[in-house]
Symmetry: C2
Subunit: 273 residues, 2 copies
């Protein structure tokens, strides 16, 4: 969490804390939750957020009443529905997903593979949608998941089409290895990215788990910018990359068309008061 330089609302009662702003403390409470920490007690929140117990208690109560957190029967806290409602408003989140969804569903039906819709967030890719095959692949791929770009098909596409400054930033940092085949050599990765940029498709094998092959293509906005990427993951033995590329390209074009505005529907649900 970055703290703004002109901090002016630090409270005096918490001298042990790293002088975060009041807003920073609220965000620290939310940051305490993660894939391995879906439910937390008040004291766990206090410890993980680096806040005193009274401060954590006060903030948790406000977040509860607003709906950002929920409390279960055992008094443990988890993320609440108000955040789902808010995240549905993210243009690069569920709104993009909504436009893409029917086409992702078709891809999944036809290929029986895992289908992902990813967008870049900083130096990582976040899955805005993930449709899993019934035969469960060993890798978790869920909506909201965040991965390094160099190990995922959607990430490779987004990195290939990112500006060179961002590419250099990723290539300069340590590249994490997930399997024996993960490309962690910057020179090799740079070569792969150039090829993806040239061909418009990423094909990679076993970057996360060995039996998997991924094919991924960019999704363009109506104005032609690369705003997302879609991918299909199948077992390498079954893979027909050329056919997957054709299907993905067709889906990508359909999504770009669906992203065209002015197709809003008349009746809307109640906005939250």
């Amino acid at each position: 969490m970055t703290v703004a330089p002109d901090v002016d609302t630090t409270t005096a009662q918490d001298p042990g804390e790293r002088r975060p702003t009041a807003a920073g403390k609220v965000l620290a409470v939310l940051d305490a939750f993660g894939p391995r920490h879906r439910t937390l007690s008040l004291s766990e929140i206090s410890r993980r957020a680096g806040l005193t117990l009274p401060t954590a208690h006060r903030l948790v109560r406000e977040l509860l009443s607003w709906g950002a957190l929920e409390r279960d029967g055992e008094g443990r806290y988890s993320v609440g529905l108000r955040l789902l409602e808010l995240s549905a408003l993210a243009p690069r989140g569920l709104e993009l997903r909504e436009a893409a969804f029917p086409y992702l569903q078709d891809l999944h039906q036809i290929t029986r593979g895992n289908v992902h819709l990813g967008v870049r967030d900083g130096v990582e890719v976040v899955y805005v949608e993930a449709i899993r095959a019934r035969v469960r692949n060993p890798v978790s791929s869920r909506t909201g998941d965040r991965w390094p770009m160099h190990v995922t098909g959607t990430g490779l596409v987004l990195l290939a089409f990112a500006d060179s400054q961002l590419q250099e930033q990723v290539l300069a940092a340590p590249l994490e290895r997930f399997s024996a085949l993960t490309v962690v050599d910057p020179t090799e990765l740079r070569r792969n990215l150039a090829q993806i940029r040239q061909t418009g498709v990423a094909v990679a094998r076993g970057q996360i788990t060995l039996p998997d092959m991924v094919v991924a293509v960019p999704v363009h906005s109506p104005r032609g910018e690369v705003i997302a990427a879609i991918s299909v993951v199948v077992e390498s033995a079954d893979a027909r990359p050329r056919e997957l590329t054709a299907l993905l390209t067709q889906a990508s074009r359909a999504i770009s068309r669906a992203l065209d505005p002015g197709r809003r529907l008349p009746l809307r649900p109640v906005p939250r008061q």
Copy 2:
């Protein structure tokens, strides 16, 4: 938004504001966004949140750096991906959706209707998942949408199985009319709820738009509590409620089974630092 009674962090520089807490101000910035306000300028945020421009500016900058907001090329703000990532951790949000998704997809394939997965939030129902038919119904039904309970199939089921105190609260408040058929008479609604509780299924016609029929059933937790509801919306002319009820009941049971814990997969994506 409710403000906690022991407010102790009101800032002195904003005497015109309704003395919200610092946390309350952060949440007010997020509350400024809604289905009709997906992108906002800084001054719009300031006005809608009831904050001075400098306060709004400072909070927006913190929310930007944390990822709760994003800024587009024209300097307008929208909800960011960090909230999607967080909302994926909500036990009643995307986690429930994940368990339910394959069965909802099947329902959609078989019935060609709009399929909803709803949970109760206060006196309203929030769609955790909404799969729309290609032939677009005139009503918006999207993930994250919030509706009054008395006009939606999932809402009627959740209201029927809620405790009597909550039922009375809903019945005592004005019941909004969306169509000529919307049941807005508390006595009639009370009778309908008793029947839903008895039969375990809600069947309603034209509550929001006239050509529609909805069939909805509860979803039970592995411990037997009603934690959600699922529904199929089709055009009344095509509707076979008995068949839809059978399909929904089967899907509901499959979802309860999938909600059983201990099926976590070994490899996880990177948690956010």
